[in-house]
């Protein structure tokens, strides 16, 4: 008990922070409680002499009154986020969604796509079951509640004819049902409020008067707007474009629109945006003129849509630009404040305005600065596209990109426009075309900064970006750096295609690191590119071109045997056809490592595959036989050469006669020599 006259100030100080400012710190710890002191300040009891003395003693020790600092508060996720920020990226690991097991992780890009798609489809199948049978999923195990695991309502509950039922159908996105309900309400004469009408128009225009695909077995399976397909091949993209809905004449949206008693900005804007989204550009502009005639002010979304549609309704560059300026002037007159999407639409339209684009793009950027709207990645992407056409890659310089990168360096980017994801791949394409390594590194460091990797887009865009970056590296950098990046990127971020691997082989060749070829071949096999004949042949050619030190030759020979298994029909799936070059390369590699038995088997393969070995190969074989001292083999070799009717048979026979042979062998050889000379 340590109370004395000095203590009360301590007491008060301690009492204040005792009231909880936030929630408990979740640790197993001793809480020091102060409520006890609070109690004591109200009661004063006599102290026994011993206790007072004790109090006096302790007083001399702690003369300073201390202040307990006020407790800090933070959000629920703050501690987890902080701990997560201490964790970097693991370069050998696959993306987290896959099982981290050598058998179960995807090794090729096809497997990557398959596994991620199957995960997504499994998830959506489960969601479908949960939503269609909510009676089996009533018990909520999760504490605290996790809303996305419980069944959602997907079917309409209200059946009667009322505005609530209409609202419900709109919120569940059932387009046809909503339209029917609206018609019924109209016929019955019930008034529908303006907001509901707005929402209904929005719904119809967004989905172009068709029900969106819900996820059950439907005919249009490839058109999945809500799903995230991890990787789309090009053919998928075209399919989804083709199946995009087109705006029909006199569809429900227009009909309802015409039936509305009064039409305000929101109605017009819904219709115009729907028309632009689904391809009815001319109609959109005519609706806009209607709007102007009826003296209804437009909003920023209308202008954004019209600006993006401007290049579609005019053919000449000048006319397009005039239309755009006219729209912008209207915007100014109607005092509509532009936003980021407005400027991005202008820049996107400028891409199709030919020679006018360069100056006007810069003017647009200045306008953006004047209105204090920061350009997003999409704006920069359009500007880059304007200044650098692929056709004129040779003469462009990278100053614009340099300025853009210096502007963006070190910033954390967020996605503000759907086209933002295209920026990085086009920037890297520029660096690649102009062979600017430093700029490429700057772009890569921007991607690695913080959360900016999210703006790389889907896995297709990611592959394109990294493919270009790797191409740039292979062209320009020393092999050690290339290999370091290779280890960092492959296969956690990027599955190289066979062009990328060919670039890598070229880089290896340039820097004379052909001893790494066996490891690269292993990677080629695991990436699934061992069915590309040009790649395999390239590997063989590089290995067989020069002679190397014995260990390297040994490694090459082992690798060559592995390559051999790629050919031939012992695999279930497509295997490559033998060619003359591949056969001879493998044979010579085996010979150099003194694997004569295997080399002999290779020569037999020549016969079975109807290919003719070249003479240099046979001479090498003969010299190898000489060094090993196997005369029978030499005789068989000459016989083989005779079977192929090669002109070198005679020469070979002469050389073979220098071995120590038996009499029959000598006889055979001399006969072959004779026939060889005759056929010469």
């Amino acid at each position: 008990m340590v109370y004395s006259s000095q203590k009360p100030p301590v007491c008060n100080n301690m009492a204040a922070p005792a009231r909880h400012v936030g929630r408990y710190i979740q640790k197993n710890t001793y809480f020091l409680r102060n409520n006890f002191e609070q109690l004591w300040s109200h009661r004063s009891f006599g102290w026994t002499p011993s206790l007072r003395q004790q109090a006096a003693e302790t007083n001399t020790e702690s003369t300073d009154s201390f202040v307990i600092p006020r407790k800090k508060t933070w959000s629920k996720e703050a501690v987890l986020e902080t701990l997560a920020s201490t964790v970097g990226r693991d370069p050998t690991a696959h993306p987290y969604l896959f099982q981290d097991d050598p058998y179960l992780s995807p090794r090729t890009s096809n497997e990557f796509r398959m596994y991620s798609l199957s995960q997504e489809s499994g998830r959506s199948a489960a969601k479908y079951f949960v939503n269609s049978n909510p009676k089996f999923f009533t018990k909520d195990f999760a504490e605290p509640h996790i809303p996305c695991l419980m069944p959602e309502t997907v079917s309409v509950l209200l059946e009667e004819m009322s505005e609530e039922a209409l609202k419900e159908r709109i919120s569940l996105r059932k387009v046809t049902a909503a339209v029917d309900m609206y018609d019924q309400l109209m016929q019955a004469g019930t008034a529908v409020s303006m907001e509901t009408a707005h929402e209904l128009l929005d719904l119809i225009c967004l989905y172009c008067d068709k029900d969106p695909v819900q996820g059950g077995p439907q005919a249009e399976d490839t058109e999945e707007p809500g799903e995230e397909l991890r990787k789309r091949k090009t053919r998928f993209r075209r399919a989804s474009d083709v199946l995009r809905a087109t705006w029909r004449e006199n569809n429900n949206a227009e009909r309802i629109f015409n039936l509305l008693p009064e039409r305000d900005t929101h109605c017009y804007s819904a219709l115009i945006r729907g028309m632009v989204k689904h391809g009815a550009y001319a109609k959109a502009f005519s609706m806009y003129t209607d709007m102007l005639n009826n003296r209804v002010t437009a909003d920023v979304h209308v202008f954004n849509a019209l600006l993006s549609a401007a290049p579609e309704v005019r053919d000449k560059y000048k006319e397009r630009w005039d239309l755009i300026t006219e729209l912008l002037n209207h915007m100014k007159e109607q005092k509509v404040q532009p936003n980021l999407l407005t400027f991005n639409s202008v820049l996107k339209a400028l891409r199709r305005c030919g020679f006018l684009a360069k100056t006007q793009a810069l003017c647009t950027l200045n306008e953006m600065k004047a209105v204090e709207i920061a350009p997003s990645l999409a704006s920069y992407d359009h500007v880059l596209a304007v200044f650098f056409r692929a056709a004129t890659a040779g003469e462009s310089n990278t100053d614009v990109l340099r300025e853009v990168m210096s502007e963006l360096a070190g910033s954390s980017l967020t996605c503000q426009d759907p086209d933002d994801v295209l920026f990085f791949s086009s920037a890297m394409r520029l660096c690649m075309d102009n062979k600017d390594l430093e700029l490429g590194y700057k772009v890569q460091s921007l991607v690695e900064h913080g959360e900016n990797w999210r703006l790389l887009g889907d896995s297709y865009q990611q592959t394109v970006f990294y493919g270009r970056f790797f191409n740039l590296l292979c062209m320009m950098e020393h092999i050690d750096v290339v290999l370091e990046w290779y280890r960092r990127l492959v296969p956690s971020l990027y599955y190289p295609n066979h062009h990328g691997l060919r670039d890598l082989l070229q880089a290896l060749d340039t820097d004379g690191r052909l001893d790494l070829l066996p490891t690269i071949w292993k990677d080629i096999r695991s990436l699934g590119h061992d069915n590309k004949s040009d790649l395999v042949e390239e590997v063989l050619t590089l290995m067989a071109r020069d002679t190397h030190s014995p260990e390297v030759q040994e490694a090459f020979a082992v690798c060559a045997l592995d390559v051999k298994s790629v050919f031939g029909g012992d695999r279930g799936r497509q295997s490559l056809e033998w060619s003359n070059a591949s056969l001879s390369h493998i044979t010579s590699l085996l010979l150099r490592a003194n694997k004569t038995q295997e080399a002999w088997e290779m020569l037999q393969l020549f016969k079975s595959e109807n290919r003719v070995p070249n003479e240099g190969l046979l001479e090498d074989f003969l010299s190898a036989c000489r060094s090993h001292g196997s005369p029978t083999r030499a005789v068989e070799l000459v016989q083989l050469s005779a079977a192929f009717c090669l002109s070198a048979t005679g020469r070979l026979a002469k050389q073979a006669l220098e071995f120590d042979l038996t009499e029959e062998q000598r006889a055979v050889l001399s006969e072959l020599e004779a026939t060889g000379e005759v056929s010469d």
């Binding site: 301590v10 301690m14 979740q26 809480f31 702690s62 701990l83 964790v87 970097g88 097991d101 050598p102």
Partner: protein, 335 residues
Amino acid sequence: MASHTSRGLLSLGRISASALGLQRPLSRVTYATNVSTNYSAGKTGLPDRGAGKFARRPRRAPGEPRTEKMPVDQDWTAVYPAAAPFRPGSVPLPVRMGYPVKRGVPPEKKGNLELIKIPNFLHLTPAAIKKHCEALKPFCTEWPSALDTDARCDAHFPIKAESTDYVSAGPSVRNPAARTVHLKVKLSSLNLDDHAFKKMLKLVGERYCRDTDTLTITADRCPLRQQNHDHAMYLLTVLYHESWKTEPWEAEKSVADMEEYSWEDSPSQRNLLDTLVPVEAAGEGGGGGEEVREQLLGRREVQEYKDSVTRLKNEGESESTVMLYKEAVKKVLNL
């Protein structure tokens, strides 16, 4: 839940392995073989749809584990950032675990269930802990410099409340065991006089530990920790105030209720006085009985005797106390 020890499970594994007897080779084989053999049935069991392409699909080769590609100076905190089961393909250590094969070594890590069952702390290497501590420093406030010794902490904050939080993997974060609160107070820091102290001891019973002079109040009746804490504080308050009050019926406290032995009015005192008073009275020649008694009680030997008897009764029998008693008796009886 991180409350069991790995050793317990290991021994369990061994016991079960030896108890299986004949089945022992089988159980060892099941966790010593490769994972890939399990797939032999699956892949090649495709129905033959006719000769040609579909006749036999080659079995998918198990890939190289990524430990081969890990550089020696990699950032381990990135490989195991959070608690995760043991993955043999991701941990580049040649660990072996389990009951050794006959005349052999414990099975290797590949396909080893024993390594997966036990909790591992691969995510809490010293480097990781250092990083975490650095990152969590902004959340902490400074420790007051005046509280640098335990004694001072006890002096300023005599009541300590202890509660435990539980973390486990599962759909729910709640654990009913987390609601208990233990309140610990040293009774010397409370202002209790003799009667209050004794009454407090009687009220709390087993919750008081004499050796450490600590009263522990455990509250777990209420569903929430805050409620239990308030309840415990309330109990402490009530105990304190009640022990200071004196009820009228406390006057009926008998010798059997006393906590410790007191020599006054005890049979020992009576016996001694009965023994000594006649001796004194005989010596002095018949003074008042009361005076003699008082005089006797004031004498030193009698005091010593009283001390030794009290000690013997309170502290129990030991060498020293019995010796003291013997000395005191000898002195009192002038032997």
